[in-house]
Subunit: 406 residues, 2 copies
C-alpha cells in the first residue's frame, strides 16, 4: 500500500515554492521558481535511488532500474509548472504519485522486470509559452526542437535561454526511444466525479482542443466628438466574436467548450475608441467532426463581424490536438485496479489536455482521475482530499506494477 | 495679422518631444517628456517677455502685463499633455495660438489695458491620472488640492511626486483669483467642420460627460473540464455590459456617446475562465436629462447582468461634468471675429471635454474650433492644415483684443 501521508506531505512541501496569498501556486514554466521546484523533486527522486536524465527541452526522466534494462520503461508522471493563479495539485499530483509508487516499491524491495520512469514534462500549462503540452509534444515528435527553443513569452524571452538560466538545458535527445506504457494520475479539474460521488475516474480519452489568437483592428478616434455611426470600434466588434465563442460551445452541448481567457485593448485610454483588440480563443470537443464545425463557425463569425463592423479580423491558430481515445487494454487495467482496490469508479472523458494525450500517439496510455473540490481548478483555491489522492496513487501502483512485471 | 509660419513652426518644434513612429505624440501628463515640453514652451514665453507662475497643481500661467495690472487678466490656453497614441495638435494648438497672439501684440508694440495670460493646464487628457481636466478643475475649485496631489497612476505614482520630479510643483495657490474672460482655441476632434466645409467652429457649449470604472467578478476555473452551464465567466458577462454602453448611446442619438476605451482581464491565461474583468465607461450627452437617463440605464444593465450571469458587478463613477453652455456674449464675439476676418463659420457643440468647460463656471468663456483631417483625433495620424490653424489663431486674436482693451 502506498503512503497517504508521505504523498500529501510531498505535495505540501512542493507547494511552498511559489505559494500565493490565497493558498495557491504561481510557478510559471521555466521561471526561477519552476527551477526551484525541479531541484526539490529531483532531489527526492535521487534519494529514492533514481537516475536523472534531462533532455534538450528540459523534460526530466527519473529512472528506477529493472531486472532487464533493455526493456522499454513503464512511464508515469505529469508536470509541475502552474497557472499564474494556479493550485497545488494540477500536475504535481501526477509527478508525486509516480514518486510515491517508486517509494512504495523501495519499501517492499520489489524489483520490477522493466525499468520504471517518472517524468516531469516541461511547460504543460501553455500559459507562459505556447503551445500547451510543449515537452510531451516535443517528445513524441509533434514539435521541432529548434521551434521549441525559439518560442518566446510575451516579454520576448526564449525557451532556450530560460532553460539555461534555471540549469535544465539538458543534453539528452528529445524522444526517439521506445516507451512500454504511459500512465498519468491527475485531479479531474471538473465537477463530475464529485457530483457522481466516485473516487476514481477511469479516463477513456480526451476532448480535442484548438487554440487561436484573434486580432481585431479598427480605428482609434476620440470618444467624445466622434459620432457613433462612423466609428470603427475594435472592442465593440470583438465582443460579438467573444460572445459567439461561448454560444458556439453551447450549440455543441454537452461536450463543446469555448473560452476567451485573455484580451488586450490598445491603446487602452478611457477616451479613445479602441483601435486594436487581441484575444485568445480556446475551443474543445470530444468529436472530431463537431470540433471542425466549431472551427468553421469561428472563422465564419470573424469574417461576418469584419464586414458588419468595418474592422479587420485576423485569426491565427496556435495549438491543436485532436480528440484522443486512450488504449482500451490500458483503460481496462485502470478500471480493474480501481475495482480490486474496492474504490468507487466511473468512466470519464477529460476536458483538460494532458501530456498523456501526446503520449497516446507513441505508446499504450491511460489516465487516472481523482475528484477536486467543487470541480475548481486553475484557481488558487483548487483543493483535493488526501484520501482521494492516496486512492489515485494506489490505483496507479496497481495498474503499473503488472505492466512492469511483464 | 498673426504669423501662420511661426505658429506652425512652434507646433512642429514642440511635437519633436515625445514624437512617435507614426507621426504622433506620446507625452503623458507629468512624465519627463511632459516636463521637457513645459520647459520648451515656457522658454518661448519668457522670450516673448512674459512672466511665469506655476501653481501647486502644476498649472503654468504666462503673463503679459497690461496698462492696468489690477484688472483681472484676459486668459487663453489649453494643455500640452497627450494621449498614449496622440497627435500633434490636440491641446498644443490652444497654447501656441495663445503664444502667437502675444507674439503678434509684441510685433506691433500693442499694450493692452488688462494683462493677458496664456495658461498650460495640467493633465487635461485624464489618461494617466483621473479625473480628466484635472488642472482647470482644481483651479475653479472642483477638486481639493490634497486629493489631486494624492491621485495615483496605474503604477501607484502620485501626482505630487511626479510634479516634483519634473520641477513643476509650483508655489502659487490654486485658483481663488478673478479672471476677466477665458478663450480656448482647439482642433474640433470630430468630422463636422470638414464635412460642412467651414473653417471656424463657433463653440456654443459642451456635451456633459460621466466616466466609470466597472469591475465584473466571476470565478476562475479551467477552460476545458468546466461544463458551460456552471461557469461564472467574468468576461462573457462583461461583453453584454460593453455592448449596452454602445447601444445606450445609439438609443440617445444623435448627441449620445458611449465608449469602452480600456479593459483588463484577470488572470489572463488562455485556459482559465476569466475571474475578473475591469473596464472603463465613457458616456456623454448634450442634454442633462438624457445624460442622467443614460447613467440610470448603465446601472440597470449592470445589475441585470449581475443576476443573469451569476457574477458581481461594481460600478464606480470617477469623472463628471454636466452639459455646459458657453457665455452668449463671448460666443458672439467669436462669431463676429470670424465674420470680420472673412472666414466661413458655423455653430458647433464640442463632444470633447476641454479646460474651457471648467473655466465657464468662474468666468465668461468661449471656444474656437478649426477642422482636423477626417475628424480624426486621439490618434497619431491626427492632422490639421496650417491655414486653418492660422485662421483659428487670428480669430482668437480678434476676439481677445477688444476684451483686453476694455
Ligand atoms: N491539465 C491542464 O490543466 N492542462 C492544461 C492544458 C489545457 O488547457 O487543457
Ligand atoms: N480635448 C480632449 O481631448 N479632451 C480630453 C477629455 C475628453 O475626453 O473629452
Amino acid at each position: 500500500k502506498i503512503s497517504s501521508e508521505r504523498l500529501y506531505q510531498s505535495l505540501m512541501d512542493l507547494a511552498k515554492i511559489g505559494a500565493t496569498s490565497k493558498g495557491g501556486n504561481c510557478r510559471l514554466a521555466l521561471t526561477p521558481l519552476d527551477g526551484q521546484g525541479r531541484d526539490l523533486v529531483t532531489a527526492w527522486m535521487r534519494e529514492a535511488g533514481m537516475t536523472i536524465t534531462v533532455d534538450q527541452v528540459g523534460n526530466i526522466f527519473a529512472r528506477r532500474a529493472g531486472k532487464d534494462n533493455e526493456l522499454p520503461p513503464i512511464m508515469t508522471g505529469s508536470h509541475i509548472d502552474t497557472q499564474p493563479t494556479g493550485g497545488k495539485f494540477d500536475g504535481c499530483f501526477g509527478v508525486l504519485a509516480g514518486l510515491e509508487v517508486v517509494r512504495t516499491l523501495n519499501d517492499h524491495d520489489i524489483e520490477t522486470n522493466a525499468p520504471i520512469e517518472v517524468v516531469i514534462w516541461t511547460n504543460e500549462e501553455g500559459t507562459r509559452f505556447v503551445p500547451v503540452m510543449m515537452g510531451s509534444g516535443a517528445f513524441v515528435g509533434k514539435f521541432k526542437l529548434e521551434d521549441i527553443l525559439n518560442t518566446t513569452d510575451k516579454d520576448g524571452k526564449r525557451v532556450g535561454d530560460e532553460l539555461k538560466a534555471i540549469g535544465y538545458d539538458g543534453k539528452a535527445p528529445v524522444g526517439g526511444r521506445a516507451v512500454g506504457a504511459y500512465f498519468e494520475a491527475h485531479i479531474e479539474q471538473g465537477p463530475i466525479l464529485e457530483h457522481e460521488n466516485k473516487v476514481i475516474g477511469v479516463v477513456t480519452g480526451s476532448l480535442g482542443l484548438r487554440w487561436y489568437d484573434v486580432t481585431v483592428t479598427g480605428m482609434e478616434m476620440h470618444a467624445g466628438p466622434t459620432p457613433m455611426p462612423i466609428r470603427q470600434d475594435a472592442l465593440y466588434a470583438a465582443t460579438f466574436i467573444m460572445q459567439d465563442v461561448i454560444q458556439n460551445a453551447l450549440d455543441h452541448a454537452p461536450h463543446g467548450r469555448g473560452t476567451v481567457g485573455s484580451a488586450t485593448v490598445h491603446p487602452s485610454s478611457r477616451n479613445v475608441i479602441p483601435g486594436k483588440v487581441t484575444f485568445t480563443v480556446d475551443i474543445r470537443h470530444e468529436n472530431a467532426d463537431q470540433l471542425r464545425a466549431m472551427h468553421e463557425r469561428l472563422l465564419a463569425t470573424c469574417s461576418s463581424i469584419e464586414k458588419s463592423h468595418n474592422v479587420t479580423v485576423r485569426v491565427e491558430e496556435v495549438s491543436y490536438f485532436p480528440p484522443t481515445p486512450f488504449d482500451p487494454t490500458m483503460v481496462n487495467a485502470v478500471r480493474e485496479a480501481a475495482k480490486s482496490s474496492d474504490l468507487s469508479y466511473m468512466d470519464i472523458v477529460t476536458g483538460a489536455g494532458h501530456d498523456a494525450v501526446y503520449m497516446a500517439s507513441v505508446t499504450p496510455t491511460a489516465m487516472i482521475f481523482v475528484p477536486c473540490k467543487d470541480g475548481v481548478s486553475h484557481n488558487e483555491i483548487e483543493d483535493a482530499k488526501p484520501e482521494d489522492l492516496a486512492a489515485g496513487a494506489q490505483v496507479l501502483y496497481e495498474a503499473m506494477l503488472p505492466r512492469a512485471m511483464l
